[in-house]
Amino acid sequence: MSVINTQTPPTGPAQKVAEFHTPLILGEHGLCPGCGEPVALRILLETLQELNLVQRTIGVVGHGCYGSFVRIMDIDVLQCLHGRAPACATGIKRMRPDTAVFTLQGDGDMVNEGLQEVIHAAARGENVTCILLNNGVFGDTGGQQTATTVLGQRTKTSLEGRDAEKHGYPIRIADIVASVDGAGYVARGAVNTAREVMRTKRLIRNAFESQLAGEGLSLVEILTMCPTGWFVTAPDGPDYLESSMTAAYPLGVLHSRSAEAN
């Protein structure tokens, strides 16, 4: 089969159906090949654009690999202390109720470092959207085990695989938040296949609509690939996510106040 020229757009009549990325991303990120976090960032920013929220959105970013997105996101961003994003988001939303506020946190940030923050924010029913990028490792510091590492997963600090007797069980933070009365919308998605990316984008949209409707805290947990931290090759990342993480963290909507009211 012959190779098609892909250096220039087609000369004949054609409709552009997908851009390289949203204009809200200003440059290249420096993350590893096969990382799932840039995909999650793109669908998040595309959702803000589709909801026409860009001019009144404030993002609150924790600490992790996604910290490098701060310099390429064309929206207002506050980078706060490790794990404390829901607390900072609470302050912003209470002072500026007209804004749409989201937090972008990793599993090490939300579940290890700042576990109480998100639960308390949910219990207070704060109208913010929390986006959790869950890859099961502390990617930024070299791939150590976090509280969400699934049983049997190898990390730099659990080379034989996570053992329940030695390291304890993983924390399902989305299920915990879903059980808190102040939560408005809780869902879990993934970015391992094109279908899951599209589905996760819908979940993010629902979460922001829940925030705008004032239903309480909305949380979307997104399972992302970290081939570097998982000791797998980049092409094997999506399959590894499917076989290990989605078994422990079932995808779907866990709690929706508007759906339950109907």
């Binding site: 089969m1 012959s2 190779v3 098609i4 892909t6 250096q7 220039t8 757009p9 087609p10 004949g12 009549p13 054609a14 409709q15 552009k16 159906v17 997908a18 851009e19 390289f20 990325h21 991303i25 290249e28 993350l31 590893c32 090949p33 096969g34 990382c35 799932g36 976090e37 840039p38 995909v39 793109r42 970015v191 296949t193 094109a194 990316v197 599209m198 081939p227 980049a234 092409p235 990342g237 999506p238």
Partner: protein, 73 residues
């Protein structure tokens, strides 16, 4: 035998980090990794005939390498 293409891509090969996620994500399996490398030293995807313009490659790409067109015939 030639296969009709309903879509085509623009691939920014210099942004590619060679993760090969698009190869497995492509439903008609018309993407293949090149034997050459870009300026960063990564192999990058090349397109063969038979693209449907489904945008699956663009959805899974972490480095935003793809722009997708549907041909109007």
């Amino acid at each position: 035998m030639s296969v009709d293409s309903k879509g085509t891509l623009v691939i920014d090969v210099e942004l590619c980090k060679g993760c090969e996620l698009c190869i497995a994500a492509c439903p008609p399996t018309v993407l293949e990794m090149s034997s050459e490398v870009n300026a960063m030293g990564y192999r990058y995807p090349v397109l063969h005939e038979g693209c449907t313009g489904c945008t699956a490659c663009q959805l899974v790409c972490p480095d935003a390498v793809f722009e997708v067109y549907r041909l109007q015939v």
